[in-house]
Amino acid sequence: MRKILIYISIFASFLIVEACEDFLTIEPLDKTSADVLFSNVAGVKTVLANIYQKMPIEDFTWTGGTGFNQHPGGAFGGWHKAGMTDEAVLEPNTGRQPGVFPGNYWDYEAIRQVNQFLETILTLKDEGKMTEALYTQLYGEGHFILAYMYFKLASRYGGVPIIDEVQKLSESGDNSALFVPRSTEKETWDFVLSECDLAAANLPTSVTTSDGIYRATKWAALALKSRAALHAASIAKYWTNAALTGDAVNAKLVGGMTATDASNYYLQCINASKDIIDNSGKTLYKPNPASKTEAAKNYQDMFETPSMAWDEVIFMKTYIDGSVTGQQGHDIDFWLYPQQCKFQNLYMAARFGASLNIVDLFEDYTDDGNGLSVPVKTRTDGVEDEYEDDPKNLTSLTQPFIYYDNQYDIFKDKDVRLQASVVLPGSTFHGTEINMQGGLVQMDGTPVIYSVSTAVGPDGNTYYTYGSANEAGYSAFGLLGTAAANYSSTGFALRKTLQDTKNVSTPALGGSTQPYIEFRLAEVLLNYAEAAIESGQGDAGLAKTYLNAIRKRAAHTDEIPATLENILKERRVEFVFEGTRFWDLYRRREFHTVFNASKRYSLVPIIDLRVNPPKYIFLRVTNYYDQAAGGRTFLTRTYYGEIPGVATNNLIQNPGY
């Protein structure tokens, strides 16, 4: 007995000695190896999810100030890039204003992770642990994401360090090799375009529901190429409109591209666009509406429920409900519903007012064959370029106003995309008739604008400045300049992308899930048209066809010529509030000319008690916030952002910083 015990303990001792290295080698429970992850589809998706999520898509969860993927509330519904242009005003006066850089993006950590992804799949393929087919698709996706990231870098900073491998720390401690200098702007754009080519050559032409339809296809890569090439071409062509000087310019880290480069980039845009148009099978969503009403509905549907519009959509990002799963969803409905429809008792609404500038830009259907914009008609004398700076102090209104029976009639002949994109005064949103009234003219002719007041009308009824006795009854011009201003300051609110017709009783923080469309065919068509007309390459006839196809979808029956002006105006109208305007102003170097000392305008519906029965007149005014700011300016240096961390990364700083 004793001896047995001894032997057992000695033997056990030795056994343990042998096994101790194994004993110490334990697998961490919170880490998973690449082998395991990539061995099945679900694992691959988790890795992809990380890098897709890191794509700097300027969607509903983005804001220039706080960055990408803000959940919940952090992005206030995206702080629409529109609010950083002449398209809209972000309210109250805390929004991101025009004339500022769109916010840093310097996520080399994400780029490192994409490079790690590409290296890992290569290793697994070489080791025979991954099929060629899967490898090809993942390879394409990795390069698509890399291209997208560098596109965002190039459009913000010009030339940047191009790092397309996983950098390793040196064992010797000499890390000088890690310091990659900036490439020239041209090299950077070329890199973006070549990455798009790599992606397009390897990505599938379609993805299945089981793969997940919100993944990149060949057409997404080409759409990105179309956009990036047009961007690069525009800079090459228009750099001189706002030329900068300094070390970065001398080294061609910004600018430095030639007319030949421009021509080349336009051609790449043309070719990529044409490939999509001809081969992707994508069409415009419901290209031949039977009526204006139908056209309006189709156009609104496309943004309210993008999943219906896969015909046209090439790539989009979607969401799950953040009010159920925290840190998800987006808030666009929560923040941007008109005051009359807001989520009662919580926070604010109507943080977005579409400007009169953009409203005026829409055509009506009367201008056969020329496509001219028609400002809304407020006066009988046809003068539509006078604006009151400070309507609150007006003592009389003597202009020859047109009298309207209601708030809506003034817009009724406009391009249907206006009513589908903007909540117009007197229109119905979410079952509620939206009242945007901002003033009244008393029977004695004294106007009261922008302040709570009542007056008795000639019919003996009591009239209110804001058209309603209580705050829940109106949506514009209340409490201007205060943080509590849950009202539009322009007289217009946002409709595009909002859940209007759906039965949403209470938009919650993070509770919106409508997808964000990143690429759709309409853009590709207009990219082609612009590149063809700008460069004289491609087919000008096709440019005209594409331009008018888009107008036709909006119930226009005439054809207009494919002039540059028409194409650019069509971009502003078709893509209003989609963020396109912001980057168009950037790439075409128009921000400083459009915005220097510029103002955005509002349209104030006013009930005039001098007539019986009282009718509406419409006053053109300078937007309250631009009036307060004395107009907006844009510094030309802002076309390139300040390179972060030059003190340690030794990069040459951009001009003006």
């Binding site: 303990s9 343990i16 999810a49 080399y108 490192r112 992770q113 997940g212 925290g326 840190q327 990069l651």
Partner: protein
Amino acid sequence: MVGFSDIFAMPDNPGLPAASNSELQQLINVSGKITDATTGLVLPGVNIVVEGTTKGAISDINGTYTLDGIDRNDSLTFSFIGYVKQTIQIAGRTVIDVALVPETTGLEEVVVIGYGTQRKETLTGSVAAIKSADIVATKSTTVASAIQGKVVGVQIRQQTGEPGVFNSRISIRGFGEPLLVIDGVVRDGMSDFERLNPEDIENISVLKDAAASIYGMNAANGVIIVTTKKGLAGKTEFTISNIYTAKTPTVMEHQSLADAYTLKYMNNEMSRNSNLSLPISESELEKWRIGTEPGYTDYDWFNNMMRKWITSNELNFSARGGNDVITFFSSFGFMDDHGYFKINELEKYKKYTFRTNVDVNLAKGLTAKVSFYGRYEDQTQPPMGVFWIFKRICMNDRGYGAYTLANNGHLSRVPCENTNPIAELSRDISGYNQTLGFQYQSTIDVNYEAPFLKGLSMGVLAAYDGMLTDNRLLNTPFQLYDYITDQPVGTPGKATFQNTITHMIRKNIQPKISYKTRIGQAHNISATLVNDIRKVDYNNLLGKRQYDDLYTTDIINQGSLTNASTTGYRTEQSYVSFLGRFNYDYKSKYLLEFSFREDGSYRYSPGRRWVFFPAVSAGWRIGQEAFIKNNLPIVSDLKLRGSWGQSGYDAGNAFEYVEGYEFTSVSGGYVFSDGVLTLGMVPPGVVNDYLSWVHTTTTDFGFDLELWMGKFGFTADYFERLEEGLLATRVATVPNTFGASFPQENLNSQKTKGFELSASHRNTIGKLTYGVNANMTLSRLFLLHQEQSPLRSTWAKWTSGQSPWVPSVGDRITGRAWGYKRDGICTSVTQVETAPLMGGTLGNSLTLPGMDIIVDVNGDGVINSSDQMPFMWAGSGFFGDALNPPLQFGLNMNASYMNFDFTIGLAGASMYTMNKSRYDQWGYGTRYPMFWDKYLDRWHTQNPDDNPFDPATVWIPGEWEALTANANNQTTNLTTDKWRMNATFLRAKNVELGYTVPNNVTRVIGLTGVRAFVNCFNLFTLCNKNLKDVDPERGEGAYATSNSYPLMRTFNFGLEVKF
């Protein structure tokens, strides 16, 4: 070092039964002579006691004694300090001569060391031991306070008197938190040590130098080894002790917070002093002064909310006994503690402990020890945390009552914290935070003494421990009302319930073999080899739900799924060690020890996993040499010791070497298919293959000296500890395009140096036996290498480029605070005009008489940060380091006379400061509207209405400067030694008086021992008078220092019964 066990041990009573047959009783006279067994010299002063009686005698100058009229069947006990006690049956003899054998006093003690025991005389390391009797000599509910100040080199500092909070800072020689070993197994940390039942402990050994190296891993800060009580063969002895405790805070200045009127008066004065308009009109002020009109009454938040006295109760029951085959010790402890708040629903602590140790002789040479320990704790705290509530009670505006003026059912919302502590302390209103802790430790230790080779033994120790904590946090929002208008203020949110469960399991197995022999007569050799394998698993689960509508019950599934969340983690740890120790001594005079340990940790990459920690130590018992013995007979022992050893700890994140993908948060997911979120897996950052152990090297030189057979003892040690490979992130310039951050590496190094001294004296004079022990430890930290950006100027080098709170780098000493020197005070406004400028753009325009004049060190006429000097000791608290003060000392005295015993233990510390951050002192920084009465002794104008800036105004001087609303422009805002005060203190940590009922009395009622005692912890404190209100031992707390939960002055009344 030197135990007082002999002094305080209860008389051991193998005793004879009282003679039952009175016929046998014959009274006789006994006399005799007492000599030293080795020298033959007579011994005067020997104590002779007739067993079981109070009758006794003392030998005279010739060593003779006489006892008259004692029973012939009685026994006599002969005891003398430094000699082995003898008990002799009289058996009818009338002359009994006795030769007492000298004991080399404490040196014969066996001391528990790492993986074994050793005779104290042959120790070569610096090991302190404290025995049961000394631990429980001062009865306390926590072990930490029971041994505070008693063990040289062990620094203990209590931080709070909060029930159920065990966060005393325990450090050996200032190294940091030591390793805790209970019954041979590495258990949990110091908070666990504090929770032990003091009654269970047989002895505690503290390994302070290279002796700790045998524990290698994580023993770099030293080791505390606790051995619990074992059974004793013989009649089963039962002990019951009950301690009733009454506590009161050591600091009570809170009671002297200014009332509402005084505060408002001072607010006006402060505004006047700062050129501001008066916040309150004279007529309003008058209403406050009268203080009867509703809305103008004073509400003493502190005294309405806080108790003066708190009581708690502790009960211990133990049984100890056994026979030749099996012995056991079994105990049960119960403790019930309460908090300091009058609403006593949410500050409670209960602890139950249970321990059974059984020793079994399985067969000849084969023994097994089986022990089991269980603990159950139940702690309730307010969901908000005691700290914040205490702060509120101190700062609440006394112009606000607890309930609104109109409705005494409506709790008011009280500035400045804008809540109401009554709500936060009421379980029904605000919820609760309850933590249940279940801990068990089981150990089996089998040893086999080989019969075929004497001295060879083998064995296996196995331990299985577990701990389960169950935290329940219920937050129920509540409605408060405006004090004046009675209108509801704010909207309460939704109730939430959160349940967190953590389970820890630790397994340990230690096969071991040892051999011990003597070659010839002089060479003693022993060797021990152990293989120590440990595995620790943690599993954690947290669930949280909210109650959308109505709070129902505190069960997780009663909440709604909206915003429900769950999280959790699981970790596994594995450790393997091989260790050995070889001892050699020659005639117990020349001592040599070598030990090694090869440690492996799961944490690092295979190439960096293992580390080898050697240690050597040597001792020379020079006192045993003839040239000392013959020439210096007063020296009974003298030993020189030296040791050098290495150990370390496995720092840093585990698995940094593993290239693996990790899940990110939910926000890192992406939606590939409608309605389906795919969580993202993030690829590895920079893989760190190089992370490894932190190495420490400890060196110690010391000596132990005993004079006059142990009447006096001295011990001194010099020590150094070098730590290399402390973690830091390399200050390397990688560009921000690298895309990953640098991992931590083993870069920094630091050294701790110091010495410790201990002196003791013990003696018996007549029936008085007493002992004194004084000890001190000085320990300083030096930073050798700190990874940081290069310093670019001489000024930056001088200040180390750091704020004053951060220790200096280089070979300079640490623990200095930077501040401004004072040069008297301004006595008049005109004097201010010529003083150096300190108010920034305002110059000295707001400086007033009574304010400090700051020394313009660089003479540029302006006082700014360049005029700071490191002339003060740094603090040790909220802002500063978490270490103990560098200098700590203790003084322990004990005495017994007849059946009374008395103990006093003083403990203190020095070389640090406490900052009464004036930013938080209202009137000098204006942060919180609370004003202590003591600041009434301030500089102020003779007439309150006078313009303070008029040179003609007459000022009344005071101890404190004039109140000011904007301290930014005043000298008052600077750190000076007026506000950062020297915190040296000496505290009567414990005082105890006990009475043991004489045996002959207890025997009559069938008991074997009864002792009653009363003791007091923190009875009084000597320190800077301005620190008495904040308690220098506790250290700086956040917010005005005084707003942290106080330590307690504890009075214990106890009774211990053995039978």
